[in-house]
Symmetry: C2
């Protein structure tokens, strides 16, 4: 620490010409949070979420309000460079999730030409429940020609096989897939953006940003303590989501068990991302009757048809006097429900997005869908196949990006790092 | 109100099949805030900002955290249709800024095929200090061929003449200018997006979205009560901004005075938008010394070189022992300061943006610059001309969009509407 301060003091002297005073300002600023042991209460939106643990944070962590998601291409061919980056990233992630600057990564004591070891825009901001969750894509293991890139080819899990193409998919490769992803969630977007930006900075020359996505507002809740939020269809989203409190269900549907595949994924989870553009202008010209019939819930309360309150269990068997099902055969809620998908459940933590307009007079807006599950091919895939073929909602949405990533277990302590088990 | 409820009840009956219960849910949901007189304390980030007044809200209102900015093209050729839209928008804006749904605009009692009069995604959310600020672009008055579009050609203010092209401008017309703009600021992005989306919905067939921009975090503060925030250079931004409390300065620099131009702009202000892409990856590889020298402030405290604290007044005359100016000749702060721009000041309320990545391995990020001033040609233009030619910062930034809009005075009460004085 003494070394860092003296480096900073020197830098400040060089830059400001007003030695001691400016140095005090700079040095103080680079330490975002003074507390070495930040508070961890999750009911405080500015608190820190513990980084170390047997599971990665950011999966069952109560969904924060904002998202910055990034997928990187690895540009180095050197295994050791990649491992060193994962170590440096882990150190920076531990610091930033605790509300500190990303440094000392990249700092070279005594070299005034060195760039700052933190980009600075989060100075003074609290941890804001930042979580950073890493995942590895299939392309990290073998390149497009099938060549083993980093000596990992025998470690690729079967569950990381590419997702199938679904009817009506309009997937743009440039904003899909990737070798490594990092999901940054926080209650302050500046904190989430700062984290991804600093990981990109640290990774310069080793990785390159393939695509990134800002989510401005959460949809699904991941805890029974959270209120259900609304997607841009205007409906509550994630009422029947897997929740952090349902531990037995999580073991069954969310966490990879030992024996499921290669041991480096034990205790991890598979992440599916789908950028779902919504034709909101068309949707907005649809009657309330039709909107509710397509979804199978009321728009206001969010109750399934035939029920009173949001969390009332659906009864898919009841019929109107004329024999018609109360929850229509092709309604979204029925098609997506576990009862019609062999019991498949996922933990969703999606975000609403607006990426400006599309040049055709429409907002470029929708849902950045994120789900975690034990095996996407047994959970996401059958549900999506059913939705893609039968859901009337398809008239109003289009899937434009897709990703599947293997997210291993957590970083256990300061001696552990992202990817350690994978590269062991 | 009775009519609205009965329409909603009927819709709910048709849609949900579970008449009374669902109707209660839907009707309840459409009223976001129960209070007809929402609280207005600005230290409560969820409170309402008064919509009616002699000035438009959203200019000196303490800058909220989030932005959704939209520019519309008017697609109708009928003056009366445009006026009717402005009336409908005003009604919706008054409701939404009070934390209510956008309706009853568009509601047609007793017609179940009618779309909902609010899109629903803000149900249950507080007003979140939403402000909606309207401005009119030069293209509303005359088309590209110089033809008078709506009988307004003799009312175009001289101050609305196009901004000049500046050196290094890389302006993309598709995301620049526009006939009408609306700036939505709020402390919850879902509330800001909801407002713009509903204005676009209401305007269907009369206007079309030309471009829109989300700002995820504010930079400049507009009140002495607010902490200065940071832009993506990592520096504090807006320390020397015009502030709401400086009423004499506001009259001189911000508000259009009677006699400045056509009377419909009395009490208004001219709005300049510039989307400034930052080459943050290049910036991040620049030393702290160089960054601070380019800006002329320390990064941590934000003190001008030679000073101790952020708000210490700069002294541009002091020199080092070797005769070099302490605040360098070509530093950003000196070039932009009123002392070197004939006293010109602006009220800035910009926002950081990240629009994913640029396909070249870089984040597409920067500052959505917003400034309000009495006359952009005497305030923004000379400052920007000086910056565009001399500022070293230009190596790290690029202006990619530009807009100039005339924002008239406020809507005085429920009998008044946006554009009334302009069309009177």
């Amino acid at each position: 620490m003494a070394e860092r301060l003296s480096r900073r003091q020197m830098l400040a002297i060089g830059g400001a010409g007003a030695a001691g005073l400016a140095a005090a300002g700079v040095a103080g600023a680079m330490l975002r949070g003074a507390a070495d042991e930040p508070p961890t209460e999750l009911n405080d939106p500015s608190a820190a979420v513990p980084f170390y643990g047997t599971r990665q944070a950011g999966i069952i962590t109560p969904a924060q309000d904002r998202l910055h998601f990034v997928a990187f291409d690895v540009v180095t061919t050197k295994r050791e460079e990649l491992i060193r980056l994962l170590q440096a990233w882990t150190e920076a992630a531990a610091r930033m999730t605790a509300g500190r600057d990303a440094g000392p990564v990249g700092a070279v004591a005594g070299i005034p030409e060195a760039p700052p070891d933190d980009t600075g825009e989060a100075i003074g901001l609290p941890p804001a429940q930042l979580t950073l969750t890493i995942g590895f894509g299939a392309s990290l293991f073998r390149d497009a020609e099938g060549r083993d890139r980093f000596g990992l080819a025998d470690r690729v899990p079967e569950a990381l096989a590419p997702l199938p193409r679904f009817p009506n998919d309009a997937i743009e490769p440039a904003i899909s897939h990737g070798d490594i992803c990092v999901q940054a969630c926080a209650n302050d977007p500046q904190v989430a953006v700062h984290a991804i930006r600093n990981l990109a900075r640290i990774g310069f020359g080793v990785v390159s940003v393939r695509w990134s996505q800002l989510g401005y507002g959460r949809t699904s809740s991941t805890s029974t303590e959270q209120q259900t939020a609304r997607n841009l269809m205007g409906f509550k989203d994630g009422t029947a989501n897997l929740k952090a409190e349902q531990t037995a269900e999580l073991d069954r549907h969310l966490w990879v068990g030992s024996g499921d595949g290669p041991s480096w994924m034990d205790g991890g989870s598979y992440l599916v991302t789908r950028k779902i553009r919504m034709m909101i202008e068309t949707w907005d010209r649809t009657s309330l009757v039709e909107q509710e019939t397509i979804i199978g819930r009321t728009k206001g309360e969010g109750a399934v048809f035939g029920q009173v309150k949001e969390f009332d269990e659906p009864d898919f068997t009841i019929r109107h006097g004329d024999g018609e099902l109360v929850v229509p055969e092709d309604s979204h809620i029925r098609l997506a429900h576990r009862d019609f998908n062999g019991g498949a459940r996922m933990l969703r933590r999606g975000y609403n997005f607006v990426d400006g307009s599309d040049g055709l007079g429409r907002l470029n807006a929708g849902l950045f869908f994120i789900s975690y599950q034990r095996n996407a091919h047994r959970q996401f895939v059958p549900v999506q196949r059913q939705l893609a073929t039968k859901d009337v909602l398809n008239e109003y949405i289009r899937h434009v990006s897709s990703g599947l990533f293997a997210c291993p277990g957590g970083v256990r302590d300061a001696t552990d790092h992202w990817g350690r088990a994978l590269f062991a």
